[in-house]
Symmetry: C2
Subunit: 451 residues, 2 copies
């Protein structure tokens, strides 16, 4: 069983984490990877920093090249190959060689689907115009960079106020563009509660971003395959370039005719070992569902961390081990100019939907001792179950040193800690690093009076 052929669809974080793990465990096993682009193992999360020219060369975002995988790892990586169909009955896949424009069938003994996700856009005229950019592959990063260099756009409209929206706003501000951002919700960052989102909306305005909140994309004005304006339900906003930040969709369309079960948002259903409903077919990364450990519900979260983790778990199991991926708690962090934003766990609206009685508190503290230079404001919001005091979620906004504090809350959520547990934690303190009560503990101390 373990000397058979493993085929992996997708050569980025989860696919190559799995391939590397299999190779470590099974030096002689045949591993074939089909990757639709010319790159492997790259940091899509780094693209905004390439566009802002913080990172000068896009090759810096590549962790390991196809050549490295071929030569050092003996992994048969075939770039520019797009998988069109999975035939689980005959254990084979149909693949398009994009350079030769030839299709062929390839058999597998075990298959790992690691196709990732793509920037979502509704299927309206102009969604693939030459100045409309998603930010999900290195190619998309190169495309927008080349367009900015050649066409010198002056105004950008970002559609969506999530992580990508914020990071791209920073990048385009740095490049000197006038930046507008359209957001369906009343505040940016709908992965935070609205009261915390408001803090970020205010910060973005202070950075010079024009926000159009509570507005939705309706259509594009398109001329010569180029969008000239974004039409919302309220107005028309001129745009030299358009950036899509409306979230990520799993790349699973090619599976719709297969027997592989899809779940939330069309993401692939997997068990804790990253196996699909079909024997010998595994999936990992941004094309799969994730179990939220707080809500105990399956969700869709596209995150590089989860892609790496689930890739290793899938690879281990394909190599004959028995490793489980327990799930995530929805931790995420992003930066816009000097502001840091972090979140983990559930939002108020999610807690209400689950019917859990809860309490919440917001505090403003400092990132360092109050007297220490560069001590900055940090706002922490905690949500906890009423009576038990079990932590349900945490949100942090601040300047340098604020965001990474979310990790203690993520750890607390994963292991069902209560507010008293958080207060009791022996967290580190010295004046350059924290007030004597870390801000997450200050928030817990306030909230514990409410339960």
């Amino acid at each position: 069983m373990l000397n058979n052929r493993i085929v992996i669809i997708g050569g980025d974080a989860s696919g190559m984490s799995a391939a590397s793990k299999v190779r470590r465990e099974q030096p002689d096993r045949e591993i074939v990877v089909f990757e639709k682009s010319q790159y492997t193992s790259y940091s899509a999360c780094g693209i905004p920093y390439f566009i802002s020219e913080t990172v000068k060369d896009i090759e810096e975002l590549v962790v390991r090249s196809p050549e490295t995988f071929r030569e050092k790892y003996n992994i048969d990586v075939r770039t520019m190959h797009l998988v069109l169909e999975v035939d689980t009955g005959n254990k084979r896949i149909r693949v398009l060689d994009k350079e030769k424009q030839q299709e062929s069938w390839h058999e597998y003994d075990q298959l790992l689907i690691a196709t990732g996700g793509t920037a979502y856009c509704p299927d309206i005229e102009g969604h693939n115009a030459e100045n409309v950019f998603g930010i999900s592959t290195l190619k998309s990063g190169l495309n927008i960079e080349h367009y900015i260099e050649e066409k010198k756009p002056k105004t950008a409209v970002i559609i969506g106020g999530g992580y990508i929206g914020l990071e791209m706003a920073e990048a385009l501000l740095i490049r000197g563009l006038k930046v507008c951002l359209i957001n369906r919700g009343k505040q940016v960052m709908n992965t935070l509660d609205p009261d915390m989102g408001e803090v970020i909306s205010d910060a973005m305005r202070s950075l010079g971003v024009t926000l159009h909140l509570g507005e939705s994309l309706v259509s594009f004005d398109v001329k010569n395959n180029c969008v000239s304006a974004v039409i919302t339900d309220k107005q028309s906003i001129p745009a030299d370039i358009v950036v899509l930040g409306m979230g990520t969709s799993p790349n699973t369309k090619f599976l719709q005719s297969s027997q592989i079960a899809l779940g939330v948002k069309g993401a692939i259903k997997v068990d804790a070992r990253m196996q699909t409903n079909i024997k010998d077919v595994w999936a990992a990364g941004d094309c799969t569902e994730t179990l939220n450990l707080v809500s105990k519900q399956h969700t869709y979260i596209a995150m590089g961390t989860l892609a790496n983790k689930t890739g290793v778990v899938a690879g281990s199991n394909i190599a004959g081990e028995n490793l489980m991926f327990p799930g995530g708690v929805g931790t995420a962090v992003c930066k816009i100019c000097s502001y840091e934003v972090a979140r983990t766990g559930l939002l108020e609206k999610e807690i209400k939907k689950l019917g859990i009685a809860y309490v919440s508190a917001v505090i403003v503290s400092k990132t360092r001792a109050h007297y220490y230079p560069k001590s900055k404001d940090i706002t922490v919001k905690l949500l906890a179950e009423k009576n038990s005091g079990r932590l349900l979620g945490g949100q942090i906004i601040g300047e340098e040193g604020a965001a990474k504090r979310i990790d203690v809350l993520a750890t607390a959520l994963t292991h069902n800690l209560t507010l008293q547990n958080i207060i009791d934690l022996d967290l580190s303190y010295a004046p350059p690093f924290s007030p004597v009560w870390d801000p997450v503990q200050t928030a817990a101390r306030k909230l514990i009076n409410e339960i």
Copy 2:
């Protein structure tokens, strides 16, 4: 019972945390605090930053003044009052009014001892010379600052390479002094394993500190109440000023004739409610023992965080609640110039002493994505129990953004997490904050192969 008189000895972190907690719960209760200095509620941890002139005014280190406690909190704070004796049989204490030089007895119904700790120095000639400085009270901070201003010392000898030694080395380097540091151990920072201590020794040398490692203080050369040289077991080192960094001793000498039980290093024995062996006598902060949650042994750890926590617990219980302080895990962090040092849990030598089979690993990673500007080296060492993989300790050295990562390990230690648990944690990631695998997880991934 709850309307009787509470007397608190010591007006800093733990004493005033307790006093404030009692006041919140019992608005009318009589609370008397005897404090030997003229200050209350100050950050002793901030003194090195006052000496380096990073903090301009020592008053900035005061969180709440005696006047504030008297006027806003109705707490009878008596500064410049030194408690000389506790007579638990008659529930009274003997107090010296330092200004009037008068002694008197004061009765209590409940007593809280929160006298903190003092920089340790062996009882040798010159230990209280005018240019020998401990760093444990605001007064000691003012003393050294005045001495530097007036006498313009050129060379400093720091005795001891712990937190205070490192922080004072930074402060005195900033003030332009030539700094020597004597350390008994072969590497500085004996709260880290020697291999990690070596990294800090190298860093200190690169900053221009002359290290004399494996050398012990023997005596002082004293002239006119002034130390002119520090005599070690190997040589004589000229010194214009001497800084004591040999650790902290609990201020409990005045209790030696009492019935109150003392433990490790003479620190007061307390239960989880911060009660001593004597009814109605409580203790909190740097004068007490702390239960180490990893070794399950009582230890002596002088830390502002623990002082605040145990003060709140003592105050709650004195006010009739029932709150427990579970103990600590020995988390600490400090900065020397651009270097950050953090530790939590047990050292290799402590694990060996406990007879636990263990494994260890050291990794070097980055504080941010490898391609992100200002991504710095971070070295992480983890120690875990063999077979079970339970975390036993963690040590981190790095530059900006490194140290606070210790908090995840402190949380993991407190709740008995294993290396696999740490790998599975949904920690935050974005290129400005972390590699996709946080360095603590990279260390856990390496070490899990060893168990």
